[in-house]
Amino acid sequence: MKLRGSSPEMISSERADTVEKVEGETYDLDLGRLSQMHTLLPASLAAQYEHRAAVGLQRHSHKPGVPMQTCIDASPAVARLRWALTSLWDAQQLDFHQVTEDAAEGITLALIYEAHGWIVRRRLQLGEFADWLLRDRAGTLVALEIGGTDTSDGDARLVEKLKQVHKSKFDVRAACVVVLAMPYATLQRLKEVQNNHEPGTPILEGF
């Protein structure tokens, strides 16, 4: 897996006190850079995602620089999550589950940019079986469904999300689930089975 900014040197020195030691390949996911990563993502939405990711992560006592285990098309790695600290006191009026979902969206949008170079085209309406339409480096459209959970089984949720995005009308489809408590993110692309299987049967790429 080729990752942008995968060097540990990219971890900023002023935040070094919050960084725990982790084994293996690491890369940074700076949630404050969503607007620069995805220029078509409305700035207000990017700011909302960063804030809610901060709330969602901080309520599990995570601090900026926390290592997040990632599994991208079955390849494991570790990302360092970066965000601006926020006050949980001010966030008390926010809906708990909405914060989880929005935090997952923010983290996923940073992850897909760093991991695959996918960028946001537009949001999809309910009924399109995905949350976002993206474009990959070759210009191919990608439908992405996102799920968030605080503590429950991310893998079971991923299967549920893959089944949903399978119904999308776009050729390349993917799902990502973020578990905030760990934190952990798994991103998986769907691939159609071409031979000796029922047409349209999804399989997990990389398996």
């Binding site: 409305p42 939405l45 909405q98 085209r121 537009r122 999809l124 009924g127 009308k169 776009f170």
Partner: protein, 125 residues
């Protein structure tokens, strides 16, 4: 307006409408009306045969139905089904969008269709 600013606007409008709907805000229908207008503008910029053009057409119809604006929904469906470049697949998808909305809002759509049929009969007479 060009496509890219419209994409930003429609993303924001969809999020707003979804959020208002989740909160049970009565303004959600109006917010979906705005989504439908933006999707229609996007559809004007992209051919029906294009994947994103087809998406915008489905989106304009879907949001008009979510807005409860059945007169607009009928007009959009008729226009997109008959426009140049519309594929059989898109026509099927538009019917699918309509049918899903019909199942979830059966009584309102039946009432609307009854009025539409009456209107057409009166016009013909």
């Amino acid at each position: 307006m060009s496509l890219e600013p419209l994409y930003s606007k429609v993303s924001e409008a969809i999020r707003k409408a979804e959020s208002m709907e989740d909160d049970g805000d009565p303004g959600a229908e109006e917010a979906y009306g705005e989504v439908s207008q933006l999707e229609e503008e996007i559809a004007r910029l992209l051919p029906a045969s294009n994947a994103e053009g087809a998406l915008a057409r489905r989106g304009a119809l879907r949001a008009a139905l979510a807005a409860g604006d059945f007169t607009r929904a009928v007009k959009l469906k008729d226009r997109y089904e008959t426009e140049e470049g519309a594929t059989d697949e898109l026509r099927r998808e538009l019917i699918e969008v309509w049918e899903v909305a019909r199942r979830s809002r059966a009584s309102a759509l039946t009432f609307h269709w009854t009025l539409e049929v009456l209107r057409m009969e009166l016009t013909a007479a």
